[in-house]
């Protein structure tokens, strides 16, 4: 007997309960009007009883998974008890159906509770993320000291297969990953910052409405392209181009260079920067602009001396969000940035990032007792904390800034 069948049977029972409820209240209505319409009586009967038995099933499965593992063979007991609970609740509710019974109020209460339960799910997800990441990294930190992880400069997570194997003891110094991540994010921001900001300024201050209506959706296409496509673009077009250009100037550029990954990531982030900048620039009150223009300043002087200073907090908030996006981006760097953990600031060399290492460590077979697998969760914890802080600051700045002009 499997769960799907049980649920289908409960569903069918629910439908019959619905019609039973309606029939009883219709009979009652022959005498005089009820508090709620018959539909509500039927619905409360069905909802009450199915909720009771579904709740029971959920609790049962939870217990089965955690405590009474040996019970899992006796699914038919679960089936019988859940049907019994259904019938019992149905009978109790059925008896309650009278003229004064406030079926609608009860049902609305249940609906509201359901809505509330759904909205707590977001919190549960956050808790789930925090717990799972902290729990696994805790195990990791009991094997590798946290200071070695955060400040060590050598990363080679290969653990020895045999006890007496020479050479690979595993080193978990994550500094090369952090520098790699920031190097690529920095290159990306060097591209996306100026281009995104300038196009936002041009579109909101100079361009005619017609141009804006065409160009804005076009730039936003860039945001809708899957990152795996950017990764492929980096590998097949940008990286060879950079390598050839480097050879032309006598530079030695690795085929998986930080530059290629950073450039393409920058292109990906352009629409992100430009749409946030566009919002904050439009939020600058018109009379500030008019004042400057009225004093004889040119448009560009107004933008540079009035609009940008006024919009600066918002723009910085937007840039911070873009940085957090760049740090957390995975596919472009997995495909274009390489796997070797070099501690370097040279954009022509291959570097690796936190996200790349998470993927490398977790794809394929995993053993959840080896520091190699667990270190991915420690990296995830760092990534989560850094992006959370960046997002929090950025959202805070942007919101403060909006309030200022409202």
């Amino acid at each position: 007997m499997n769960i799907t069948t049980i649920l289908i049977i409960i569903g069918l029972l629910g439908v019959s309960a619905y019609y039973t409820g309606i029939r009883k209240s219709l009979v009652l209505r022959e005498e005089r009007l009820l508090h709620s319409t018959p539909v509500y009586h039927g619905a409360i009967l069905a909802v009450n009883s199915s909720l009771a038995s579904i709740l029971f099933i959920i609790i049962w499965i939870f217990l089965e998974k955690n405590i009474f593992l040996e019970l899992s063979s006796s699914r038919y007991i679960l089936f019988i008890i859940s049907i019994l609970i259904f019938i019992l609740t149905a009978v109790i509710t059925f008896k309650k159906i009278k003229h004064e019974f406030k079926a609608r109020d009860k049902l609305e209460k249940i609906i509201e509770l359901f809505l509330l339960a759904c909205s707590t799910l977001a919190v549960l997800v956050t808790i789930g993320i925090v717990l799972s990441v902290i729990f696994e990294s805790n195990k990791f930190f009991s094997a590798v000291p946290i200071s070695d992880f955060l400040f060590g400069t050598h990363w080679s997570p290969q653990m020895p297969i045999r006890e007496d194997q020479v050479g690979s003891t595993g080193a978990f110094g994550a500094v090369p990953l952090f520098t790699g991540t920031f190097l690529i994010a920095f290159i990306a921001m060097c591209i996306a910052g100026p281009i995104g900001l300038m196009s936002a300024i041009y579109l909101s201050e100079y361009a005619s409405k017609k141009v804006r209506d065409i160009v804005k959706p076009l730039t936003e296409i860039l945001a809708g392209i899957p990152t795996v496509v950017y990764g492929f673009f980096a590998v097949i077009v940008v990286a060879p181009f950079i390598r050839n250009a480097g050879q032309h100037f006598g530079l030695e550029i690795a085929s998986e260079s930080a530059l290629a990954a950073g450039l393409v990531m920058g292109v990906m982030i352009i629409p992100f920067v430009s749409s946030i900048s566009d919002d904050v620039i439009n939020a600058v009150p018109q009379n500030l602009k008019n004042g400057s223009l009225g004093l004889g300043a040119t448009k560009s002087e107004t933008i540079k001396k009035v609009i940008i200073p006024a919009a600066l907090p918002g723009i910085i908030g937007g840039l911070l969000l873009a940085v957090s996006r760049a740090i957390g981006e995975t596919m472009i760097v997995v495909m274009a940035a390489g796997m070797s953990a070099n501690l370097t600031a040279n954009p022509f060399e291959a570097v690796t990032t936190v996200t790349v290492q998470i993927v490398v460590l977790l794809v394929g077979d995993q053993e959840f007792d080896s520091p190699k697998t667990l270190s991915a969760f420690a990296l995830g914890l760092v990534l989560f904390c850094v992006t959370l802080i960046l997002n929090y600051i950025a959202l805070h700045i942007v919101r403060k800034y909006r309030e200022q002009y409202e």
């Binding site: 609608r104 609305e108 609906i111 509201e112 809505l115 509330l116 759904c118 799910l121 977001a122 919190v123 997800v125 956050t126 993320i129 799972s132 990441v133 696994e136 300038m198 196009s199 300024i201 041009y202 076009l218 730039t219 860039l222 809708g224 392209i225 899957p226 795996v228 496509v229 950017y230 492929f232 097949i236 077009v237 292109v267 352009i270 430009s274 040119t298 448009k299 560009s300 540079k304 969000l321 996006r325 740090i327 957390g328 981006e329 995975t330 596919m331 997995v334 495909m335 998470i358 993927v359 977790l362 794809v363 959840f368 995830g380 989560f384 992006t387 959370l388 997002n391 929090y392 959202l395």
Partner: protein, 419 residues
């Protein structure tokens, strides 16, 4: 004060910077599309070679019973070999013959087997059959291998080139629409690989995402917008949480899925069911935020009217506000699903990245997804796979464009409705 001339020149320059950056962004967009299209459009054709196959009774049906159980074990490869030697009687020697056989894809024998299964009456007759060519031949015919290069620099050597030229002169080699690409799963041979398996995987995962995140997302939005007590610390916390979740890197959701769904609940690895669940957690914030915006923009008079004639709050919201806001909510949902369709990082973490030849039949069969298939093929240096990677990207982009246009259409409709 600077003179006017230099100030105006500055103005002009500033404006030019703006135009330059927009042009650059659009140029990069065009470059991306053009490079992918030019790499991949040839993948929509496949090269086939016509063979005159003699379905010799002695080889495939020695017992003359037309019993499928016996036929299916027989040596269909021999039929191909015989047919090729007939076509090139001058080729002799084991190694040369083997090389000659190699211009035909090794899927040809299965093609013949299936053909016989469906047309059992062909046994004992001669039939002209188009079979798939090998991927190197395919690349040559499509012009990706330069025939003018010296022999040691191209993947097709002079003998093979001579044979192909002979086939071309007899019009026995031709390009067809690439049906294989749309009807088969992954394969280690590029000419036999297709996107159907990955597509079905994506479809399964996305339907789970839709089933989970659409109801939960709009329920959350309705509660927060219409029922939640205002200025409540707890509700503020929920809101901050949702905004933060929207900006959490997608790979973190993969870690969540791995630790909670796979390790704690013991769900199977690599299956679309878990993939869809992870993706739905990821798209939930997008749906909630845009659904709230849609609810907020419904004029309050609609709700107040309903409340005024005695509807309860639930009735006012569900019978009057939600139907008006629904197109707006659907816009957000479609955009969220489009994001989920293009997302690969969390799926990598929960193991939906594997070489899977079979097309998944249920939600709990191991599968990949379209973006993962792109990632896997992009890792393969062979020219045949580069072409298919680009083609798969084109298919993915077509779906995304379709979904986004639907979202734009619904948004327009919504804006007109609330006028």
């Amino acid at each position: 004060m600077n003179n006017l001339k230099s100030r105006l020149a500055k103005e002009k320059r500033f404006k030019l910077y703006g135009i330059a950056s927009i042009t650059l962004a659009l140029f990069l967009l065009t470059l991306l599309f053009v490079s992918i299209f030019s790499q991949g459009y040839t993948a929509f054709q496949e090269t086939k070679i016509q063979l005159n196959i003699n379905f010799d009774e002695k080889i495939i049906d020695p017992t003359k019973t037309k019993d499928w159980e016996i036929i299916k074990k027989s040596n269909f490869n021999l039929l191909i070999k015989n047919s090729i030697s007939e076509l090139f009687p001058e080729v002799s020697g084991r190694s040369k013959k083997r090389k000659l056989k190699k211009i035909i894809s090794n899927s040809a024998e299965y093609q013949l087997r299936d053909y016989v299964k469906n047309n059992i009456e062909v046994i004992g007759t001669n039939q002209k059959i188009w079979v798939l060519a090998d991927d190197d031949v395919d690349m040559l015919i499509k012009g990706h291998i330069n025939r003018a290069l010296p022999e040691n620099e191209r993947r097709i050597d002079n003998d093979e080139l001579k044979w192909i030229k002979f086939l071309e002169s007899k019009k026995l080699i031709k390009k067809f629409f690439n049906k294989t690409f749309f009807t088969s799963g992954d394969s280690s041979e590029s000419e036999q690989s297709g996107i159907l398996g990955a597509f079905i995987g994506s479809l399964f995962a996305l339907s789970i995402t839709l089933i989970l995140s659409f109801p939960i997302g709009i329920a959350t939005a309705i509660y927060l917008e219409e029922f939640a007590p205002k200025n409540n610390k707890l509700i503020d916390f929920v809101e901050v949480n949702i905004n933060n979740l929207a900006a959490v890197p997608s790979i973190i959701f993969g870690l969540l899925g791995l630790a909670i769904f796979l390790n704690f609940f013991g769900m199977p690895r690599s299956v679309p069911l878990v993939g869809g669940m992870v993706l739905s957690l990821m798209t939930l914030p997008t749906i909630i935020i845009s659904s709230r915006a849609a609810l907020k923009s419904v004029p309050p008079s609609i709700k107040e009217g309903a409340l005024g004639v005695g509807a309860s709050k639930i009735q006012a919201v569900f019978h009057h506000v939600v139907p008006v806001a629904l197109p707006g909510m659907m816009t957000g949902t479609i955009i969220g699903l489009a994001q989920a369709l293009g997302e690969s990082a969390p799926l990598l973490i929960i193991g939906m990245v594997a070489f899977i030849v079979d097309i998944p039949q249920t939600m709990t069969d191991p599968a990949t997804a379209l973006p993962i298939q792109i990632y896997l093929w992009a890792d393969t240096p062979e020219r045949g796979f580069v072409e298919r990677t680009s083609a798969a990207i084109m298919v993915l982009l077509v779906f995304l464009i379709f979904m986004n246009s639907a979202a734009v259409y619904l948004r327009k409709k919504f804006e007109k409705d609330i006028g």
